[in-house]
């Protein structure tokens, strides 16, 4: 019999699930050996620079490209008129609307794409772009979504002003896009009418930008002889891009290859199809040369994929004890000039209806109205799963407001309303089936760890002395891993994902997935899943993603879907291989399959010590000695359609100290407990949580895309747009519980977005809590010193 120690050692050698193995990607990245899109140097590459509108709203009277074309080295200047014969001057969006590739007669947001200058090098292209003369007639702009809905508001979209719908149901105003409703309106209204207590609060999730380190860009290379197009690009979803490019260009999908090489962070910014990509592709097809287009930081912040801009009003009905009876939410969603919202087709507000949160709320109703404004188009999930941050912000603020009204402790009111462990699987009032959770245990663990009663006591004493201290809580539930194909699709393609695994004769492995890492560490963690499933060391398991010519079709990486969907496909494909391996083992050991048992890295004959075949031995046999009638080789593919989303959760607590004269807010303590089910690599999870919390800190305390009334973007560089560095970032204390997902093959849930989704409301609640005793129920993010000082000043707290 194998000793326990021997088995532990064998298992440790695999570096499988649960091992904090170091990231396989890092030696390359930290030595500057990454290979990003802008690192590509294809022979004969030319460069595209986009000419952009200085105005947020204007009619284009003329475009004169003569001077630009005369500049030596300029090869072409593309405008809407050049794209018209190809019908590419407009393109369809994921949300059923259309978006101008190059402005056709008018511009609807500042920095909108007007022309692209193609030249021999980037400098000439930039000089050429300066020489393109565009004559504009400025029009009044509207940047506030509420004002956009006023009867006399400027018409932003002349192209659809008479249309009754824009791809998402009926419109009721020239700047209205859609109304999306979910839940029981009559039932909710009825509860509100007779409720013992009701609270109502307006709040804003300001427009922010994910601002990844690497901006968006591509190299499009069309081979005129073969008729083949290769596009290297910063995409979180290369396969979907290939399908879109095929549909737009008419090229067969088999002649298009999309490659996402190393990607320097995505956070949602790299989900969409942007005009720059389309122009580069067209230019390459026309010129027959590789065309490179890389955004500047300003272009990135100003045009590609903002997040949030949700203007919410939440209402709770409850009994005297703070037990919630109903939730009502109304949202004005600012989608900018074109509705290129990144979403599964049927979900115009994404998964916002997860807004009943971790609480057992009997009835709810949500209404979201999408609105056009003269701001950049889009609406992506910034490190969150399709509007889940907004949803969590809403419910976590509302429950605090209710606690304040009833004078009940903010932890206590959460305990009273949590869905209980025995209620799972739990179906929410808005239709989601939560897979698993244990909210009471999580919050209790956090409260004990920080000695919550002592913190509240300290706060009370400080309040008596006029000092400002806030304690923020956030007990969130996320919904990640889009998603079950019956509910989720993108352009009609179900949101499954895939893995293809090949075991080589010597027992090493190559595996390819339909997802694409942007820093998540897939090469490390997917290998760990395979290692545990197949009993082969992860060290020898290569992971490849992002090349549509080699990887199986998948929907990509965003919304924390890699582990819930791609990771599940990986486990399932590995299990198909293990099933075949079992048959081979039975053949080699000359016993029936039923006599075998799996033991870490080998099949053993039950009760016969020493009678065993390791996976390494089986892999060799798969190429020379298989049972009669069996195909040679050891490989499998799995396309996984998840039966449900996964619902990771957590309990966060923040303590802030605020200077009552300057408004400067210091995060004294941040305790984050996450539950993502099975933990594949604890070190990577911790890294993800550190990153997510830091981005949460960024949004809560400093990030905002600020516009003036004329639609000029005032925060278009890193001088004005806050990106935290180690100097500003607080210390993060991490903790966890493990509540496995019952439907996921290895019980894992997504994790990388939880800290962002939960961190923002937690910090926001902490800041507001510092003023709660003075009747403050909301403060608009970001909580910069100036912004907080304004509240202090209004309350007269800064008087000496």
């Amino acid at each position: 019999m194998a000793t326990t120690a021997e088995r532990v050692e064998r298992e440790a050698k695999l570096e499988g699930v649960g091992c904090a193995r170091k990231r396989k990607e890092d030696p390359r990245f930290i030595q500057g050996k990454g290979n990003y899109v802008d690192d590509l140097k294809l022979p004969g590459t030319v460069f595209g620079v986009v000419v952009r509108s200085p105005y947020a709203h204007a009619r284009i009277k003329s475009i004169n490209k003569d001077k630009a074309l005369k500049l030596p080295g300029v090869l072409a200047v593309l405008t809407a008129n050049d794209l018209k014969p190809l019908k590419l001057h407009w393109m369809p969006t994921l949300a059923g609307d259309v978006q101008a590739v190059l402005a056709d007669e008018k511009v609807c947001f500042q920095y909108q794409e007007v022309a692209m200058v193609i030249a021999e090098n980037r400098y000439i292209a930039a000089d050429g772009a300066d020489l393109v003369e565009v004559e504009y007639e400025e029009l009044p702009a509207v940047v506030d979504p509420h004002k956009a809905l006023e009867p006399n508001a400027p018409v932003i979209r002349d192209d659809i002003k008479d249309k009754k719908e824009a791809g998402q149901g009926p419109r009721r105003h020239h700047n209205h896009i859609f109304t999306w409703e979910v839940g029981d309106k009559a039932g909710t209204d009825k509860v509100f009418q007779s409720a013992e207590v009701t609270v109502k609060q307006a709040m804003v999730n300001p427009r922010v930008h994910p601002c990844p380190l690497e901006t968006c860009g591509c190299v499009a290379s069309f081979d005129k002889v073969r008729g083949e197009l290769t596009v290297y690009m910063t995409s979180q979803a290369p396969h979907v891009i290939r399908t879109v490019v095929s549909l737009l260009s008419g090229l067969p999908e088999s002649k298009i290859r999309v490659v996402s090489p190393d990607i320097g962070g995505g956070f949602g910014n790299k989900v969409g199809v942007y005009p720059g990509y389309v122009c580069a592709i067209v230019a390459s097809i026309v010129l027959g040369r590789p065309v490179k287009w890389i955004e500047t930081r300003i272009e990135n912040l100003a045009t590609t994929a903002f997040a949030r801009d949700y203007h919410l009003v939440g209402e709770l009905a409850a009994d005297k004890n703070g037990r919630i009876k109903a939730l009502r939410v109304n949202v004005i969603a600012d989608h900018g000039a074109f509705n290129s919202h990144a979403q599964p087709t049927k979900w115009p507000a994404g998964l916002f209806s997860i807004c009943t949160g971790s609480y057992d709320i009997p009835v709810a109703h949500v209404k979201v109205d999408g609105v056009y404004t003269n701001k950049a188009p889009g609406g992506v999930a910034y490190r969150c799963s399709f509007r889940v941050t907004e949803a969590v912000h809403l419910i976590e603020r509302m429950i605090d407001v209710l606690a304040q009204k009833l004078n009940v402790d903010k932890a206590e009111i959460r305990m009273r309303n949590f869905i209980k462990r025995e209620q799972f699987p739990y179906t929410s009032a808005l239709g989601w089936q939560y897979d698993s959770g244990d909210y009471h245990t999580a919050l209790k663990k956090v409260l004990d760890a920080v000695n919550y009663p002592a913190l509240r006591k300290e706060q009370e004493e400080k309040r008596k002395r006029g000092e400002l201290m806030g304690i923020g809580l956030c007990t969130f539930t996320e919904i990640v891993g889009a998603g079950p194909t019956k509910a989720c699709d993108i352009l009609g393609i179900g949101m499954f994902d895939s893995a293809e695994i090949r075991v080589h004769p010597t027992g090493s492995v190559i595996a390819r997935m339909g997802t694409i890492t942007q820093g998540q560490g897939h090469a490390t963690t997917y290998a760990q899943i395979i290692a545990s499933e197949l009993g082969l060391p992860s060290e020898n398991i290569q992971i490849e993603e992002g090349d549509t010519s080699t990887a199986p079709y998948g929907l990509g990486t965003y919304g924390s879907r890699s582990t819930p969907v791609g990771g599940a496909a990986t486990a399932m494909a590995a299990r198909k291989i293990r099933d075949k391996a079992r048959k081979i083992a039975a053949h080699l050991l000359e016993v029936p399959e039923g006599d075998l048992e799996w033991d870490i890295d080998r099949f053993k004959v039950k009760g016969v010590p020493g009678q065993e075949k390791t996976m390494k031995e089986i892999a060799w046999a798969a190429y020379n000695n298989v049972p009669e009638g069996m195909e040679m080789g050891l490989e499998a593919v799995d396309y996984y359609d998840p039966p449900n989303f996964t619902y990771p959760f957590g309990a966060y607590l923040a303590v802030v100290d605020i200077d009552r004269y300057t408004g400067e807010t210091k995060v004294r303590r941040f305790y984050a407990l996450d539950d993502c089910g099975t933990r594949i690599n604890p070190m990577i999870i911790e890294g993800q949580i550190h990153g997510g919390l830091t981005e949460a800190f960024a949004v809560a305390m400093g990030q905002k895309l600020e516009f003036d009334e004329g639609g000029n973007l005032l925060s278009n560089s890193l001088m004005d747009y806050f990106v935290p560095t180690a100097a500003e970032t607080p210390k993060w204390e991490l903790d966890h519980t493990v509540t496995k997902s019952p439907h996921h093959p290895i019980g894992a849930k997504g994790v990388a977005e939880s800290p962002h989704v939960g961190g923002i409301p937690c910090l926001n609640n902490a800041v507001v809590d510092a003023f709660a005793h003075l009747g403050v129920t909301d403060m608009e993010m970001p909580h910069t010193a100036y912004s907080v000082w304004k509240t202090i000043h209004k309350l007269g707290l800064d008087k000496r």
């Binding site: 200085p54 500042q110 003369e133 565009v134 504009y136 000029n712 005032l714």
Partner: protein
Amino acid sequence: MEVKLEKSFPIAAPAAAAWRLLSDIKSMAECMPGAQITEQVDATHYNGQVNVKLGPASAAFKGTLELQSVDAAKREIHILGKGTDAKGGSAASMDLRAAIRDAGDGRCELAGTSTVTVSGKLASFAGRMMAQVSDQILQQFGANFAQRAQALADGAGAAPAAGMAAPPRELNAFALLWGVIVAFIKGLFGRKNPTAR
């Protein structure tokens, strides 16, 4: 982005001479640092340009000037100027109402209210300095105007006095920047900053 400014400058010249300068659009416009009238289109319309230089980068704003009203009796003038930078990246406009008030004793005062609106890159990048920059431009305008009006009165002729510096050809943004910094520091203590909205 919009900034409203109100300013007045004492002028050591009689009101009549100052008014002569103010109502001579071409000469008046050239008191604006870096500005030039290139062409008179008709009685009330002019074409012009403003050159701005900030280190190695320079921008030329081309635009139109429209005389909205002239009241010789009250010595008041209302001008609307609009321009776009030749590269199309920014636009600016200025609505200026200026008047000469007799201060007696052969002296007068130039009083003006202006609303400056900028859009495009200028608004995005220079937004936070808009109020101060506009204030400095007007300050230089006032100084040039006072000097010219005085020369006009002294020489009683149209030609500038000998030895008097010609108005700068370009708006010197470095000098301007210094002025902005000085004004900012003064503002910190004096709290007399113009308000931006």
